[in-house]
Amino acid sequence: MAGRRVAIVSIGMTRFGKHPDKKLLDLLAEASLEAMDDLPEAPVDSLIVSVMSPGLYEGITGPANILAGLLGFEDKLVYRVENTSGSGGAALMAGWTAIASGVVDSVLVVGGEKMTHKSTAENAAIIAGLVNEYERRTGITLPSYAALIARHYMDRYGIDNEPLAHVAVKNHLHGSMNPKAHFQKRITLEDYYRSRVVAEPLRVMDYTPISDGAAAVLLMELDKALSYTSKPVLITGISGSTDTHVVHERPDLLEMRAVKNSVEKALRMAGKSIRDVGLVELHDMATILEIAQLENMGFYPRGEAWRAAMEGWTRYDGELPVNTSGGLKAKGHPIGATGVAQAYEITLQLWGQAGERQIKSQPTAALSMSMGGFGHNAFTLVYEPGW
């Protein structure tokens, strides 16, 4: 594609987890400063902030303006982007677009959420806000949708919970090697089966926790970027796609069309095929979603991806490392931060700075998929090392 190219030049992230002594703005500022301190001479023309519900969580409106004020930003292009749990992916799209279009040369994209001061029930109610009004009246939530889809997958392909347990064990293994993950403890298959059932057939250990945290990446036009770094991570493909808002309107409940179509379009833009991709961060709000998304992205045929974690293919040292950060499952899911934290992990891995969990291969392309709702609205990015 001709025109201005966009690269990630620096990154920052708070630890994900419980931060009782910090508010949303503290977390956003911490991640922002880490990204800026990484490359202190780099100019920041714009600040784009990804947060889902600062109003409901902390009574805040205009978090982007508050953050710009705290960071001493004046005469900048500043705004907030929201796409529920896929807010981070949407904010990266906004940042990419602002640079590719020539409006600005650099954008600090920072996402965060402060959630753990609310009870599980209050969190569930806030998160359920995006579900269609009729669906909500039945008592369904996004986690119970994952259970409906897990039951359907198990029936269609004749599996039990074991492949799901292996996804949880794998992502906790990755989290145990990520000093910024919410859970840094390995779990066993026994731990998985001991956890209580939330919605049949899914257990506590199938689901992401509720976390606080923030992540930031500094995007820059490539020619400019090369004056500040020798290791720009190029964003060569980026796209978004939506599925039906009412989940039962989907022709095939296991076909996540927003995921599938956003991946297809982003790869086409990058001029890559799925076989070129050697590193993936995806939206494992529940273990079954890692399996369903890998199939819908095209990495494995339908009905086959359940083998991936069991066989070790998707482990950090496997042929297709998936969620080396620990994923939503172990790293945590402070909603507005999640999509940005995926870009953080991909960058760290491509730089070879992921420490203990560093992948063994040197992929020519990596992919992240940030999803809003239950496959309602997905954003996919394709990354390539720019050196």
């Binding site: 599980t120 269609n132 939530t141 119970s144 409906l148 359907h152 919605a199 049949e200 009412v246 409940l253």
Partner: protein, 108 residues
Amino acid sequence: MGSLRIQVCRSCGRGYYPPKIRCSCGSRDFYEVELREPGRIVTLTTIYVPPIGFEPPLRVAIAEFSKHGLKVLGRIDGDYDLKVGDRVWAVENNGVVVFSPAEGGEGE
């Protein structure tokens, strides 16, 4: 027995519950029809940690119907032993679709 009032697109024939303002085919021309046939359970779950205002265990299911390409999310409120593949009637009760067994039950 039971019936469910659904919305059907006059242009492409696709059925909706709950109703829409505009069909995915672009049409805004709908009619309503009573769906007088049982559906089949595609998937179901029992929720042990439901949202505020609901009592556990809460059973929800998605049933598929042969007409209008329709699937509907609903609740299983009665004490029925329903599983995937079972035929069910769907009726609306206080704004929620409720499923009950269509075979071996009353009024097939």
